[in-house]
Symmetry: C2
Subunit: 286 residues, 2 copies
DNA sequence: AATTGAGTTCCAAATAACGGAACTCTGTAT
DNA sequence: ATACAGAGTTCCGTTATTTGGAACTCAATT
């Protein structure tokens, strides 16, 4: 019943049917209530499609009568949330970028954490991420890229499952044990790589370890060849659970590096936590 | 009557009343029609506020009865477009980031242009932008940052006026003369710096020059100390008007650099145009 | 010329949004 | 302690928007 569930479900749908999803998938979409919700349903579908969908494609994926759907799309277009190509296919509109840009650059938590992850990047020379827990996913709020990374242009805003990412596991370890176990049961485990922790048991065992050390490792569990070292952080006052990580290709990493990074990542996480408390002390709103 | 106008107006409102706008400003906001539009009005206000507004702040800026506004906000929160802080202040929600991330990374034009601006960055070593024309503004679709830039963290998604930016002027020069003149009259000129072109006449004269050379200069017209060299590009088939630029602090720039960059920027723009046509040839939709 | 499929428009009926007023908190002054 | 004021929330009859089926247009095919 959670928004996150729904989005995860959509992602699955897409993963299972690489290309011609529109024609075959019999609309597994549960309609939301409220005018706004329905409009966002449509927007979601448009945003999540890899090829810009056309009217009929949408009609297949969204359980609405033609007339209704048409008006809903028209509204989205009128508001600038969706744009139409000359060939009548739909793409997400620029207004989204504008809104999100504001959301992002104004996010106080990100602003507060930024200097610390920047420093972490300078100390390690590798790609650094700042992630935030949102339901069963981690959403990347910021990243600083290592000099030359070919693949992966800006994860910012992207979401990944908690169970197979360094920051994700670090954040889970920050939850009360029961809550953590509850979530472990809710995941739909997918074995991204041979090392992915793909059962609640495996996951919870590792999280117990993370709780001891404060450090979490991603040993090519999400993408082959990619490892990372992460630490969690939280702030009860604001109800924030987040994490920072250093990521690098496995072949480039020496054991010395790992040990180094563990210290640095922990320092960064603690520094951010300290700043959060400090900021909340003097004046509560700003 | 344009969306862009409205947003520009909002920006003005903010610029004029730095801090306690909520209390004093008598809500210059014209309500949009349709449920969606009203919801987005609220979202806009939340996104554009510099401090997270509280319920009463919003009530002051949006001309709606308390009960109504409250429900509208509740809906936004339920949809994840807005989040509530513990102290009941509102911030834009993470769902926006997620939607925009998809919108951005899936944008075919951006993907197509990316290798070229990357190359431009490598050739110049300076910060490079890719901008798209949207109404009276340029929206930055991508940028690659020069090694150490302290200020300005990610312009991506941000909007600036056309008349005072390098890419903006370059794009205007791509319009038919009448259309260009029409827009020149629509701007609300603000003298950001002493060199800002602040009348239609000044602007049109410069644009005529840009039309000859294909190259546009920002001579600290938007921000003091910042100069840039830009070139416009367009594609009639898709109706896209865009531009690329190289930006750097004025003190660091030698005359040789400028001449160099002119050539490189033009090359990049032409290369992107060529790719667009090529992409549109083989198969029209993808 | 006829047929199909895609996209668009229309309007009575159903539904969701509206908005005024009443209510609940929480912190502050008496 | 008690009253007060301000912020935030809920309720419900009224009102306006959304709904969805059907009819219509346009372009490409047969």
């Amino acid at each position: 019943m959670d928004r996150v569930d729904e989005l995860a479900e959509q992602a699955d749908e897409r993963a299972q049917s690489p290309s011609n999803a529109a024609a075959t998938a019999p609309s597994r979409r549960k309609p939301e209530s409220g005018t706004l919700g329905k409009a966002l349903d449509v927007l979601d579908v448009i945003a999540l499609s890899e090829k810009p969908p056309r009217f009929t494609d949408l009609l297949g994926q969204i359980d609405q009568p033609r007339g209704t759907l048409h008006r809903q799309i028209s509204n989205l277009v009128a508001e600038g949330l969706v744009a139409v190509n000359p060939d009548h296919s739909y793409v997400p509109g620029l207004r989204l970028l504008k809104l999100a840009a504001r959301a992002w650059s104004g996010n106080t938590f990100r602003l507060l954490a930024e200097p610390h992850i920047r420093q972490l990047h300078e100390a390690t020379g590798e790609t650094v991420h700042l992630g935030l827990m949102s339901g069963l996913e981690v959403i990347y709020l910021d990243k600083i890229e290592s000099k030359q990374t070919v693949r992966m242009h800006s994860q910012v805003g992207n979401a990944s499952p908690l169970y197979c990412t360094g920051v994700g596991k670090a954040m889970l370890a920050r939850l009360p044990a029961e809550e953590c176990a509850k979530r472990a049961d809710q995941f739909e485990y997918f074995r991204h790589t041979p090392t992915t922790l793909h059962t609640p048991k495996l996951l919870l065992a590792e999280i117990e370890e993370i709780r001891q050390t404060g450090i979490s490792h991603d040993r090519e569990e999400h993408e082959p060849g990619i490892r990372c070292v992460a630490a969690g952080l939280s702030d009860d006052k604001q109800g924030i659970i987040a994490g920072v990580s250093v990521t690098a290709p496995a072949f480039r990493i020496a054991d010395d590096d790992i040990e180094n990074w563990q210290v640095l990542v922990l320092q960064a996480a603690r520094a951010i936590e300290r700043d959060m408390e400090a900021r909340l002390g003097p004046r509560s709103q700003e």
